[in-house]
């Protein structure tokens, strides 16, 4: 769905464009993708710098984006950690940072791969509230997860894979 893998058959369209003709960079501006392992998508040596990463390369002046960075730090409970080295944070904190960094692009759609892996119940609740907030703001999302309770609280549609078959469940 993000164009990382090519479909074996059929096509995936994003806003009318076949994904195979679009670069991952173009997809990334419209779809936010959270990897199962957040370490793969943390590139900088401070939490705040991580949130500024994309904008720095796309040429947005830092001053204009500062209020948005502060809002994201607040929303994802990362304000007290803004000067920390991301690689020293806990798994849950890194997960939230990776999601916050993805959200900095203002994507209209999110794809989250096992977002609750390694999170305790409190952190799960925080993530659940954040995602519910995003849904209310009109951001669409697909979540790949084994965590049935987490999924049930967020979903409008659940598709299970059982023994290689797709089973659609009403919510």
């Amino acid at each position: 769905m993000t164009g990382i893998l090519e479909p074996e058959k059929g096509s995936v369209f994003l806003e009318g464009k076949d994904l195979s003709t679009v670069t991952p960079g173009q997809t990334g501006r419209k779809i936010g993708y959270l990897f199962q392992n957040p370490d793969l998508q943390i590139f900088t040596l401070s939490v705040k710098e991580e949130l500024l990463f994309t904008h720095r390369f796309l040429g947005d002046p830092s001053e204009d984006i500062e209020p948005e960075v502060d809002r994201m730090l607040e929303l994802f409970h990362l304000s007290s950690l803004k000067d920390q080295v991301p690689f020293n944070l806990s798994r849950g904190e890194r997960q939230r940072l990776a999601l916050a960094a993805v959200m900095m692009n203002g994507p209209g759609y999110l794809i989250l791969d096992e977002p609750t892996t390694g999170l305790d119940s409190i952190r799960k609740k925080i993530l659940l509230d954040i995602l519910k907030g995003q849904l209310e703001n009109g951001t669409g999302m697909s979540i790949i997860s084994h965590d049935h309770d987490f999924i049930r609280d967020l979903s409008h549609r659940i598709i299970e894979i059982d023994d290689g078959r797709l089973i659609e469940k009403d919510v």
């Binding site: 670069t23 991952p24 960079g25 370490d39 793969l40 943390i42 590139f43 993805v102």
Partner: protein
């Protein structure tokens, strides 16, 4: 027959192929060694197609290397110059081609080693009385290299999925961007190494020199034959190269 060669025979073969690649400075001789490397690699059963496909993706690096080599080796007939600055010379191109041939021989001969598994390579080194610490390090390096390559690829995809198109960035920014690939890869590698060492210690692993092994390698007749032929051939090649 060739596919069941002992891993130690393969190591000797690789050494015999890569030694002339480093010592010989004759493009015809290097071409001959490259052809032998390709044939041996195919006979021994390495996936040469896959490796050549990967190499074709970095052809521009080869091209740049030839060009740089050529620029800094100003000998022979001048072919291209800007003002008083000579860019390409006949001698420079020959040096560049030699350099590419060397690189290809080393890469293609190394593919022979990919036909043995990691366990066999460690056992081969052990039976050659290489200290276990070293053979173990080799085995870990072999195990981690593909993971490292996958991690670099994934990190680049992750950067692109943040909305950045490296191809559309200015050259200076692109170089800066590539620098960001290495911090997560390096940190994750150190973390993995730490986890691995803790896991090994937890299982009471120690690199003691006295070890018993389920897998014991034994040379067959074909191994002795190939080793003898290889050593005689390499000695002959170097003898003719230096004395005639």
């Amino acid at each position: 027959m060739f596919k069941r060669l002992d891993v130690r025979t393969k190591i000797i073969l690789v050494l015999c192929l890569s030694t002339p690649a480093v010592l010989v400075q004759d493009p015809y001789m290097l071409t001959a060694v490259l052809i032998i490397s390709i044939l041996l690699s195919i006979f021994i059963g390495s996936d040469l197609k896959k490796i050549l496909r990967s190499l074709s993706r970095i052809w521009y690096i080869f091209f740049t290397l030839i060009l740089v080599q050529s620029i800094f080796t100003g000998s022979g007939m001048e072919l291209l110059s800007i003002g008083r600055f000579t860019i390409l010379t006949g001698g420079g191109i020959i040096k560049g081609v030699e350099f590419m041939l060397r690189l290809l021989i080393i890469i293609i001969s190394a593919t022979i080693m990919t036909t043995s598994n990691q366990r066999e390579i460690v056992q081969g080194l052990n039976q050659w009385k290489v200290p276990y610490e070293i053979s173990f390090m080799v085995s870990i390096a072999i195990r981690f290299l593909p993971m490292l390559a996958a991690e670099i690829k994934n990190t680049l995809i992750a950067i692109q999925l943040r909305g950045i198109d490296p191809q559309k960035l200015k050259f200076s920014k692109r170089i800066k961007l590539y620098r960001y690939i290495f911090s997560p890869v390096l940190i994750n590698t150190v973390k993995k190494a730490q986890k691995l060492s803790v896991a090994m210690e937890a299982r009471a692993f120690r690199a003691y020199p006295g070890r018993t092994s389920y897998l014991v390698l034994k040379f067959a007749r074909i191994d002795y034959f190939i080793i003898s032929i290889s050593l005689v051939l390499i000695a002959a090649i170097l003898f003719f190269y230096y004395y005639f």
